[in-house]
C-alpha cells in the first residue's frame, strides 16, 4: 500500500498520484500497479444536449408558427387574399432564422450569429419591400445600412474574440466603429432622398465618438492614469 507523503492518506493501487494534492506516488517497495483494474472505465458519457435542444427548437417553432398561421387564415377568410398577414409571416420567419440556427450551433456561435443575422435582415427587408406598396427603398436605403451594421458587428466580434487588444483599446475601436456606422447611415439616407450626400448630423455624433476613442487610447498608454481611474472609481 502507498501513502501520499503530503496528505497522509492511503492511496488505491490504481492511483499514480494523490487525487487530493496531485503529489506523485513515491513508494520504492510498491510502485504503481499497471495491471490493476481501474475503478471506473475510461469511456465517458456526454449529455445528449442536442436532444434537449431539439425539443426547445420544436417548441419555439410551434410558438412562432401559431400566430403566423392564425393571421394567414383570418386574413384570407376576411379579405379572400393575403395582405397584412404577410408582415406577420415575414416577421415570424425572420425571428426563427435569427433564433434557431445560432441556438443549434456548437462552434463559432458569435460569428455565425452576426452572419446569419445580417443575411436574415437583408432577406426580411427585401420581403417587406415586396409586400409593401412603397417600392424602391431596399437597394438604396435598407441594404447599405444593414450591410454596414453587419460588417461593423462582424469586425467587433472578431476583435473581441480573437485579438489581443486590451479593454481600453477595444472600447476605442468600438467608439470609432459607432462613428463610422452613423456616417454610413447618413450617407445612405441622403442618397436615398436626394441622390447625393452632405454630412451634417452624423458629424456631431462622430466627433465625440472619435474624441472618446482618442481618450481611451491615451488612458490605455498611461499606466498611472489607469491606476488613478481604478482607484477613484473602484466599486
Amino acid at each position: 500500500m502507498s501513502y501520499c507523503v503530503n496528505c497522509g492518506v492511503e492511496l488505491h493501487e490504481t492511483e499514480k498520484s494523490c487525487p487530493l494534492c496531485t503529489t506523485v506516488v513515491i513508494n520504492p517497495n510498491q510502485l504503481y500497479n499497471e495491471d490493476a483494474k481501474p475503478l471506473y472505465p475510461p469511456h465517458k458519457q456526454h449529455a445528449d444536449l442536442q436532444a434537449n435542444k431539439r425539443v426547445t427548437v420544436a417548441l419555439i417553432s410551434v410558438l412562432l408558427a401559431l400566430p403566423a398561421s392564425v393571421c394567414l387564415v383570418c386574413n384570407y377568410v376576411i379579405d379572400t387574399r393575403l395582405t397584412w398577414s404577410m408582415y406577420v409571416l415575414g416577421t415570424m420567419a425572420f425571428l426563427w432564422t435569427v433564433i434557431i440556427p445560432p441556438y443549434l450551433l456548437r462552434r463559432n456561435r458569435e460569428l455565425m450569429t452576426v452572419i446569419i443575422g445580417g443575411i436574415s435582415s437583408c432577406a426580411f427587408l427585401r420581403f417587406l419591400e415586396e409586400v409593401s406598396p412603397v417600392k424602391g427603398w431596399y437597394l438604396t436605403l435598407a441594404l447599405p445600412i444593414v450591410l454596414v451594421v453587419a460588417f461593423i458587428c462582424f469586425i467587433m466580434v472578431i476583435i473581441f474574440l480573437y485579438s489581443n487588444l486590451r479593454k481600453m483599446q477595444i472600447a476605442a475601436v468600438f467608439a470609432v466603429c459607432v462613428a463610422g456606422m452613423m456616417i454610413a447611415v447618413e450617407i445612405a439616407t441622403d442618397v436615398y432622398h436626394q441622390a447625393s450626400f452632405k454630412l451634417e448630423w452624423s458629424v456631431f455624433f462622430a466627433i465625440p465618438c472619435i474624441i472618446v476613442a482618442v481618450l481611451f487610447m491615451l488612458i490605455d498608454r498611461k499606466r498611472s492614469v489607469k491606476e488613478n481611474i481604478k482607484k477613484t472609481f473602484h466599486v
Binding site: G8, E10, H12, E15, Y40, K44
Partner: protein, 440 residues
C-alpha cells in the same frame, strides 16, 4: 382479409392499452426536479453494489426484467401536462448498459426507453443511477438490493429470503409503496418559515456539464465511531462538522470576498419518524452550519454547534412544520392554476432562492446497509454518489458496509481543496483514510 382484421384488432388493443395506462402525480419533493432541470443539468444520484465476482450482463438484464415489475415507481416515464408534470406507465423494456467514467450525467427523457433510471455494470459492480423524480436514496437502495438479490439468485443459484430491504418479486406492488407520504402525514398545524441567508459557495474552475470528479474515502467505521463517541456526537454529526470545518478553511484561504455562513444540507429520512412504506421521495433536510463573522471556530466548537443544531431540529414537530410549508406552496390555488410553462419559471426562481444557494454543500449519510444473510458473502461493498448540483458545489454521500464507510465526494470543480482539507482533518484526528478516484 384476415391480416387486415388482425391489424385492426391489434390497433384496437393498442388503443385500449393506451387509454388504460395508469398515471400518477409527482410527490411533493419530486415536483421541483423536472421543472428546474435544464439542457445541462438534472438531479441524478447513484447507488452501486460491488460483488465478489464479475458481472454477467445477460443475467443482469434478466434480473432487471424480473425486478422492474415489482417497483411501480421505476416502471414509469415523465410526461408534461398542462399544469403539472405527471408520471405514466411505461411498457417498454429497460436495458442494462456498461458503466462510464463520469457517472450521473444529465438524464434525458428520451434515453433508455424513456425510463428515469439507468442500470450499469463494470467489472464486479452494478450501479443504479436515478432521476430524483423517481425516489430518494432509500427507495433506490431497496431497488438495487432487490435487483442484486434477483441477480445472485440466477447467477449463484441461491435462494434469498426477502427482508432487510429486499422485496419479493413474486408479489404484486403494494399500493402504499406509491403513496405521496408527504400528503398523508402533513398535519398543517404549523408552517415553518424559510428565512435563511445565502451560504458560502466554493469558487473554482467549473468543468464541462458531463464531467463529475469522484473522490472516495474508505474509512473504518469503528475508528470513526470511537472518535465520534469520544466527542459525544453521532457519526453523521462528526462528519458534517468536519465538512463545515473544511469548507470554512477553504473560505478563509480564498482571496478576498465577503465571509458567508458555511452550512451543510443533511437529508433526513422521514420513514424513521412516520410509518410509511413508500418507495418514492420521503425525505427532508436540516442545515447545520456556522457563521464565520462571529469569530474563529475550532473544530471542537463546530462539532458542538452541529450536534446541538441537529438535536434541536431533528424532531417530528419541526419536520412536520417544514413538510407542511412545502405542501402549502404546492397546494396554493394560484400556483396550481398556473400553466406549467409559467410555473416552471416560478419554481426555478424558488429553487434559486430557497434551494442550493442556502447551503454550501450536501452530506447524505445512508447509514449501515443490511442485506439478507444469503447475500452477504457475495457482496464486497456499497457506494452512494450524489450527482452534480446545479450550482456546481461539492457534495458528499456515505454508506457503510462490512465495517467500512464509503464516503463519496462528487464535484464539478477541478480543484480538490475542500476534499483535501476534509480528509487531512480526519488523518489529524487519528482516523485512517484510503482514497480512490475516477481519475482526472
Amino acid at each position: 382479409m384476415s391480416n387486415g382484421a388482425e391489424t385492426a384488432g391489434a390497433k384496437a388493443t393498442k388503443k385500449r392499452k393506451r387509454t388504460h395506462k395508469r398515471w400518477y402525480t409527482l410527490d411533493n419533493a419530486a415536483k421541483i426536479y423536472p421543472a428546474v432541470q435544464n439542457a445541462k443539468w438534472s438531479s441524478v444520484f447513484r447507488v452501486s453494489v460491488t460483488l465478489k465476482e464479475e458481472i454477467d450482463p445477460e443475467i443482469l438484464q434478466e434480473a432487471l426484467e424480473a425486478t422492474i415489475g415489482r417497483f411501480t415507481n421505476f416502471g414509469l416515464r415523465l410526461r408534461a401536462g398542462m399544469f403539472w408534470y405527471y408520471l405514466e406507465e411505461n411498457d417498454k423494456r429497460p436495458l442494462v448498459q456498461p458503466d462510464v467514467a463520469n457517472p450521473c450525467v444529465r438524464m434525458s427523457n428520451s434515453e433508455n426507453a424513456n425510463f428515469m433510471f439507468r442500470v450499469r455494470f463494470y467489472n464486479c459492480r452494478i450501479a443504479l443511477e436515478v432521476f430524483h423524480v423517481v425516489c430518494d436514496g432509500t427507495g433506490a437502495l431497496i431497488f438495487l438490493k432487490t435487483l442484486t438479490a434477483q441477480y445472485l439468485m440466477r447467477k449463484e443459484k441461491i435462494s434469498i429470503t426477502p427482508g432487510d430491504g429486499v422485496l419479493d418479486c413474486t408479489e404484486k406492488p403494494h399500493e402504499e409503496e406509491m403513496e405521496d407520504a408527504f400528503k398523508r402525514f402533513a398535519t398543517f398545524k404549523a408552517l415553518k418559515g424559510r428565512v435563511e441567508i445565502r451560504a458560502y459557495h466554493r469558487k473554482g474552475t467549473v468543468e464541462p456539464p458531463h464531467v463529475l470528479h469522484i473522490l472516495t474515502g474508505v474509512i473504518p467505521v469503528d475508528k470513526l465511531r470511537e472518535k465520534s463517541r469520544e466527542m459525544g456526537v453521532t457519526l453523521t454529526e462528526f462528519l458534517t462538522a468536519a465538512m463545515i470545518y473544511a469548507l470554512n478553511e477553504c473560505q478563509k484561504n480564498a482571496p478576498g470576498g465577503r465571509s458567508r455562513p458555511v452550512k451543510i444540507s443533511v437529508p433526513v429520512n422521514l420513514r424513521q419518524f412516520y410509518p410509511s412504506k413508500t418507495l418514492r421521495n420521503f425525505s427532508l433536510w436540516v442545515t447545520p452550519g456556522i457563521e464565520p463573522k462571529y469569530g474563529t471556530y475550532t473544530f471542537e466548537e463546530i462539532v458542538s454547534e452541529v450536534h446541538h443544531f441537529i438535536k434541536m431540529n431533528l424532531k417530528e414537530k419541526y419536520l412536520n412544520a417544514m413538510l407542511c410549508k412545502n405542501l402549502a406552496s404546492e397546494m396554493n390555488p394560484m400556483l396550481r392554476a398556473t400553466p406549467l410553462f409559467l410555473k416552471k419559471i416560478a419554481l426555478i426562481i424558488a429553487y434559486d432562492l430557497y434551494g442550493e444557494s442556502r447551503f454550501s454543500g450536501t452530506f447524505s449519510n445512508m447509514g449501515v446497509v443490511r442485506v439478507p444473510a444469503e447475500m452477504e458473502p457475495h457482496i464486497e461493498r456499497f457506494d452512494f454518489i450524489l450527482g452534480r448540483s446545479k450550482n456546481a458545489s461539492t457534495d458528499a454521500a456515505g454508506v457503510s458496509f462490512g465495517g467500512n464507510l464509503y464516503l463519496n465526494f462528487s464535484s464539478a470543480l477541478h480543484e480538490h481543496d475542500y476534499e483535501r482539507e476534509f480528509f487531512t482533518l480526519l488523518i489529524r484526528q487519528g482516523i485512517p483514510v484510503k482514497i480512490e478516484s475516477n481519475g482526472r
